[in-house]
Amino acid sequence: MENVNIFGFGSFFNNNTKFNDIDILLLHQSISYESCQFSLRCKKYLLANLINAHITILSLSEEHQLDFFNKSKAKYLGKIYEESAEYDLNVILNTINGVKNLE
């Protein structure tokens, strides 16, 4: 079963009241077809349900190469499991909307 870790980064997640996008990173396990397809499904769902979302998808090895965490200071938002994807994604959306309401 596939899973994807979700992180937020950029001005929206850094308590900046001025932001253009909600930057989200989907971190998936490998560059296999299945892993990439599951990430793309998660991305599609988030884009459909979150205005101004800007989504980056990286595999673990791609993240390691780019050193994305250190550079972006990404914050962990949660994990999406294939068997409970819609529920997990809605939890993430609620978390993001919670951050929005604090602005």
Binding site: D21, I31, K43, A53, L58, S59, E62, Q65
Partner: protein
């Protein structure tokens, strides 16, 4: 200038690829170029080969985006990342290369077109990265 368009086909911030078109027209190995759609070009080479090019401004083009392209595009031989603000991962470079597809910035594509197997072209930095990972 950051990439504006968040969704496939990650269209250019300026809504055109004029610089890419100009560079292609000036290349000695290029006979002509044909714009098929906003993000898709047919590059006709002087040796008679045709290179089908998808061009975009995806902020960080990885293997997942490659699969997205495979799903949405009929056929392509090369992917060009247009903006200096955007880039691609070494994993997708390797993956595309193994599948006979080139992925480059414009400068890299200009150099690659001088090779018969243009998709195999690596910049000095890419070559070093490939060697470091034992991919060569």
């Amino acid at each position: 200038m950051p990439a504006l368009n968040k969704k496939f086909p990650w269209m250019s911030y300026y809504n055109n690829y004029n610089f890419f078109e100009d560079r292609m027209r000036s290349h000695k190995k290029v006979n002509s170029i044909k714009k098929i759609s906003d993000s898709f070009y047919e590059i006709d080479l002087v040796d008679g080969k045709i290179v089908n090019v998808f061009i975009c401004e995806c902020y960080s083009f990885g293997v997942a985006e490659y699969y997205e392209c495979v799903e949405k595009l009929e056929k392509f031989d090369a992917i060009i990342i247009n903006s200096n603000w955007c880039g691609y991962t070494m994993e997708v470079k390797r993956y595309c290369r193994e599948h006979g597809v080139g992925i480059f910035d414009i400068r890299g594509f200009m150099a690659a077109l001088n090779l018969n197997n243009f998709w195999e072209y690596l910049t000095i930095e890419e070559k070093a990265s490939f060697q470091e990972n034992d991919w060569l």
